[in-house]
C-alpha cells in the first residue's frame, strides 16, 4: 500500500471461459433446467403416489425431512453461488474450501454422476416411449428397438444442445411445463376417482421412526443434482442472483408437487396402476390416455438427459480451460456451445447401458444398483461442499455463526442419507457404492498426482471462477486525477 492507498485489484480484459454464450439464459429458463433435472412429474407419479403405502403413517414427515435436507444443502451452496460464478459448480466450490486434491475427487464423482444421470434419462425415455407404443395396442418391441430409440434420442439431444443454451433450456421449459400439466390432470383424475384426503392422513398414530427416516432418505436421493443450474452460471443473466434463486425455486416446485402427490396417494395407494404405468385406465392393456402420458414422461426424461449432458459438457469445458484436461475440450462453436466437450459426454452417458448390455441385459437400461451407487457418490460430493463452506468463508473473513450451523446440519442429514443408501440391502453394506466410491477416490488422487508431476503450476489454478472483467467494473480515474480526494 502506497500513500495510504491500497493497491488496486487487477481486472482482466477477457474471461478465461471466453467463448460461451454469456447472459443467454433468463431466470425462468434456468429454473426450468433445474426442474428438468429433478423430473418432478416422474417422481410424483412414481414414488410420490406410492410413498404412503411404503412409509405408512408419517409419510408427510418423510417428505418434509427429505426436501428439507435438500433445502439446507441449497442454502449451503447459496453461500458459494452468491459470491462467485463457475461452470464447475460443486467441483469449484470444494476447490475453494478444501483444496485441489478433494476438488479433483469431486470432479471425477461429478463426471460419473452426471454421466449416469444422462444415460438414465436416455434409457428411461426410450423405455417410456416403448411402453407408450404398447399402450396404444402395439406388440412389445424387440430388444434392439430399444437401442434404436436410444440412438434417436441421442441424435435429438445433440441437435437441441448444438443449437445453443438458449434453445436447450427453452426446450426444457416447454417439456417440463407440459409434464407438470399432465401431473395436475392425473392428480385431478385420482381425486375425482378416490376422493379428497381427510385430516387423518396427518395422524402419526402407529408411525415407525425407522420407516419415516428411510422414506426421507429415499426422497432426498430424488433431489440429487438439484444444483445443476450452477453449471450454467456463465451463460445466465445476473448469475449471482439467478443461480441461488433457481436452486430454491426448483426444490419448492418439485417438493410442492411431490407433497400433493403423496396426499393424493394416501387416499388410495393404488400400487398396481403405478407399477404398470396406467394412471388413467387401471388394469387395462390398451389406453390412449396413458400412452399420451407416457410420451410426455418420456420427453421429460429426454429433457433430463439434455440438462445432465449440458452440465457435464460445461464441467469438462471448465477442466480444459483451467488447463487440467485436454485443451481441445475448451473449444466452443458459433452458438457458444463447448462442442468437443459435448461430443465427449456421449461415451460417458452410454457407458452404463452398454456395461449392462455386456452383462446380459437385452434392453438398454441403467441398472438400478448403479443408479443408487451414483446417488451415494453425489451425496458424498454434497458433504464435501458442506465441509468446504467454513474454510472458504474464513478465507474471505466472512464467517458468521449461522453459516457454521448450516453446513453442520446438512452434513448430519447427508451422512444419514448416505448410510441409509449404503445399508439398504438386507444383511449389511452394499458393495457397489463402496467400490465405486473407492474407484472415484483412486482416480481423483491419480489425477492429482499426475498433475503434480506433469503440470505443477496448473494445480494452483484448480477451482478457477469467472472473474469480473474490466467491462464489468467502474474503474476509478487515474491516480493524478483523484489525488485531491485522498
Amino acid at each position: 500500500m502506497r500513500d495510504g492507498r491500497r493497491p488496486g485489484p487487477h481486472f482482466r480484459e477477457r474471461s478465461v471461459f471466453d467463448g460461451l454464450a454469456r447472459r443467454q439464459v433468463g431466470q425462468v429458463d434456468l429454473v426450468a433446467h433445474s426442474v428438468a433435472v429433478l423430473t418432478p412429474s416422474l417422481s410424483a407419479l412414481g414414488t410420490g403416489l406410492a410413498l404412503p403405502a411404503m412409509v405408512g403413517p408419517g409419510f408427510w414427515v418423510s417428505t418434509l425431512l427429505g426436501f428439507g435436507l435438500a433445502g439446507a444443502l441449497a442454502l449451503v451452496l447459496d453461500q458459494f453461488a452468491s459470491r462467485f460464478n463457475a461452470a464447475g459448480s460443486l467441483y469449484t466450490y470444494v476447490a475453494k474450501g478444501l483444496g485441489a486434491t478433494v476438488a479433483l475427487i469431486v470432479g471425477v464423482a461429478m463426471v460419473l454422476g452426471y454421466g449416469v444421470l444422462a444415460g438414465f434419462g436416455l434409457t428411461g425415455g426410450a423405455r417410456r416411449l416403448e411402453a407408450a407404443w404398447v399402450a396404444t395396442g402395439g406388440a412389445p418391441p424387440a430388444g434392439y428397438v430399444g437401442w434404436l430409440v436410444v440412438g434417436l434420442l441421442v441424435a435429438l439431444c445433440l441437435v437441441v444442445i448444438r443449437r445453443g443454451i438458449h434453445c436447450s433450456t427453452r426446450a426444457a421449459l416447454v417439456v417440463e411445463s407440459v409434464s407438470v400439466l399432465l401431473l395436475g390432470v392425473i392428480l385431478l383424475v385420482w381425486l375425482t376417482r378416490y376422493g379428497l384426503p381427510g385430516p387423518e392422513v396427518f395422524s402419526l398414530a402407529g408411525a415407525s421412526v425407522e420407516r419415516i427416516v428411510a422414506g426421507a432418505a429415499l426422497i432426498a436421493t430424488l433431489t440429487v443434482a438439484f444444483e445443476s443450474c450452477a453449471s450454467l452460471g456463465l451463460e445466465a443473466d445476473r448469475p449471482l442472483r439467478a443461480v441461488p434463486a433457481s436452486m430454491r425455486i426448483s426444490l419448492l416446485v418439485a417438493g410442492g408437487l411431490f407433497f400433493v402427490a403423496t396426499l393424493v396417494g394416501s387416499v388410495q395407494p393404488d400400487r398396481r396402476s403405478i407399477l404398470t404405468w396406467r394412471w388413467f385406465a387401471v388394469g387395462q392393456e390398451v389406453s390412449l390416455l396413458d400412452a399420451a402420458a407416457l410420451v410426455v414422461l418420456g420427453l421429460s426424461m429426454v429433457a433430463l438427459a439434455v440438462c445432465a449432458w449440458t452440465v457435464l459438457s460445461r464441467l469438462l469445458f471448465s477442466f480444459a480451460r483451467e488447463g487440467i484436461l485436454w485443451a481441445g475440450l475448451g473449444r466452443t462453436d458459433a452458438h457458444g456451445v463447448p462442442v468437443v466437450a459435448t461430443w465427449c459426454v456421449l461415451p460417458v452417458a452410454l457407458a452404463g447401458p452398454v456395461v449392462a448390455w455386456a452383462l446380459g441385459r437385452s434392453a438398454p437400461v441403467v441398472p438400478g444398483d448403479l443408479l443408487r451407487a451414483t446417488t451415494v457418490i453425489m451425496c458424498v460430493t454434497y458433504a464435501c461442499a458442506a465441509l468446504a463452506l467454513v474454510p472458504f468463508l474464513r478465507s474471505l473473513d466472512e464467517l458468521r455463526p449461522a453459516t457454521v450451523a448450516l453446513p453442520l446440519l446438512a452434513l448430519v442429514g447427508v451422512g444419514g442419507v448416505t448410510w441409509q443408501a449404503v445399508t439398504r440391502e438386507a444383511g449389511g453394506v452394499s458393495s457397489l457404492p463402496v467400490l465405486l466410491l473407492g474407484g472415484v477416490a483412486v482416480l481423483g488422487l491419480g489425477w492429482r498426482v499426475a498433475l503434480g508431476v506433469a503440470r505443477p503450476r496448473r494445480v494452483r489454478g484448480i477451482g478457477t471462477h469467472e472473474e469480473p472483467l474490466v467491462a464489468d467494473v467502474l474503474i476509478p480515474a487515474a491516480p493524478e486525477d483523484t489525488r485531491d480526494r485522498w
Binding site: 462467485f84 466472512e398 464489468d472 467494473v473 467502474l474
Partner: protein, 104 residues
C-alpha cells in the same frame, strides 16, 4: 451520505434499506476498489449482518462486483451504466449534476 442529507429530512422519508444500500455504495466508492467487508463494517453505522446482507444483494444485482480474489468489492457495471446514462443526457441539469456542479 452527509449530515445535510439527514438534516433535510431525506432519511425520515425513505425506507431504511434503501438508505443503507446507498450508504454501502457510497462507502465502496469512497474507499476505492478492493475495499473489504471488514473495512465496510468498520466505517458504516450498521450491524455486521446488515452490511453482509446489503453487500450480497448489491452484488447479486451487479451494482457491486467482487474483486478477483473475492475478498474485496468494487463498483459494478450497473453503477457505471447509471453514470454513463447521466453523462450522455442532453438535459443541462443532468449534465451539470454529472459534472459535480450543484444548484442553489
Amino acid at each position: 451520505m452527509t449530515a445535510g442529507d439527514a438534516d433535510d429530512g431525506f432519511l425520515a422519508r425513505q425506507p431504511a434499506a434503501v438508505d443503507s444500500a446507498f450508504a454501502v455504495l457510497e462507502a465502496v466508492a469512497e474507499l476505492g476498489p478492493g475495499v473489504t467487508t471488514r473495512e465496510l463494517v468498520d466505517v458504516l453505522p450498521m450491524s455486521r449482518a446488515t452490511v453482509y446482507r446489503i453487500l450480497k444483494h448489491l452484488v447479486a444485482q451487479e451494482y457491486l462486483v467482487r474483486t478477483p480474489d473475492l475478498r474485496g468489492f468494487a463498483l459494478g457495471a450497473r453503477v457505471r451504466a447509471l453514470g454513463a446514462a447521466a453523462a450522455d443526457r442532453p438535459d443541462p441539469v443532468v449534465r451539470a449534476v454529472s459534472f459535480g456542479l450543484t444548484f442553489p
